[in-house]
């Protein structure tokens, strides 16, 4: 149903859809530059359905020993269909026991959440999760 609605939206509003995607791509490039992004090595835990889009709990966990030589330097969180794609950026240090952060985010409607982990050697890893929202997050 979501897919059909998205397709319909794309057909009816190509300009608006392109703008939202452009904003997301710009936000991602702003965060990680032109580094190649690969899937895997990072997990995003989010509810399949969130009762309250204003408080959606998520857990981001990247695979990393978190040593000075090999650690995650940043975790970036994006929403694909919010009015603005940015959610948060976490700058991590090897003082942390693991590359894990739990937080609560706002989702205006059903959409994908994208998380990126930047490693100290420049690699960027990605995970996504689709979240349905019963009541849209108040983005006022």
């Amino acid at each position: 149903m979501t897919t059909r609605r998205s397709l319909l939206a794309l057909a009816l509003l190509p300009a608006a859809a392109a703008t939202a995607d452009d904003a997301l791509q710009a936000a991602i490039r702003d965060a990680v530059g032109n580094a190649a992004i690969t899937d895997g090595g990072i997990t995003l835990r989010a509810p399949a359905t969130a009762e309250n889009g204003g408080q959606v709990p998520i857990t981001i966990l990247a695979e990393s020993p978190m040593t000075a030589a090999d650690h995650v330097t940043a975790i970036h969180v994006f929403a694909t269909a919010n009015p603005t794609p940015g959610i948060a950026t976490f700058r991590l240090t090897p003082l942390l026991a693991r590359a894990e952060v739990q937080t609560r985010i706002r989702l205006a409607e059903a959409q994908h959440v994208i998380v990126l982990a930047q490693m100290n050697d420049g690699r960027v890893r990605r995970a996504t999760a689709e979240v349905r929202v019963t009541t849209g997050g108040c983005l006022t």
Partner: protein, 103 residues
């Protein structure tokens, strides 16, 4: 500089050497994006330091929930002091401190 409402920290008072502890933080803040409401009122940053060194720095944008809540994990090697600072776009801030004894 005015002060934000008192933040809440959940952190153990003591730990064994090498133990991983969980730190939870919560601060009351409306996180008004201004997209639909009359004005914007957003918290922008949480900085957590351990013995004066940066442990974690978070930058918040519109998709962060009201009353920002965060959980993260630290391996304790020695008795340490923690310092938490939240700042918002209006220049207000809040601070909290904690000490974890090891041994």
């Amino acid at each position: 500089m005015s002060t934000l409402n008192a933040p809440r920290i959940r952190i153990p008072r003591s730990a064994r050497a090498g133990e991983v502890i969980e730190i939870r933080t919560l601060i009351e803040h409306p996180m008004e994006t201004g997209l639909q409401g009359p004005r914007r009122d957003m918290l922008t940053r949480l900085l957590v330091r351990m013995n004066g060194e940066t442990l974690l720095a978070a930058d918040f944008r519109n998709g962060t929930s009201a009353n920002p809540y965060h959980v993260f994990f630290v391996r304790m090697e020695r008795t340490s002091s923690f310092d938490f600072t939240w700042t918002d776009e209006a220049g207000r801030s809040a601070r909290a401190e904690a000490r974890v004894t090891v041994g």
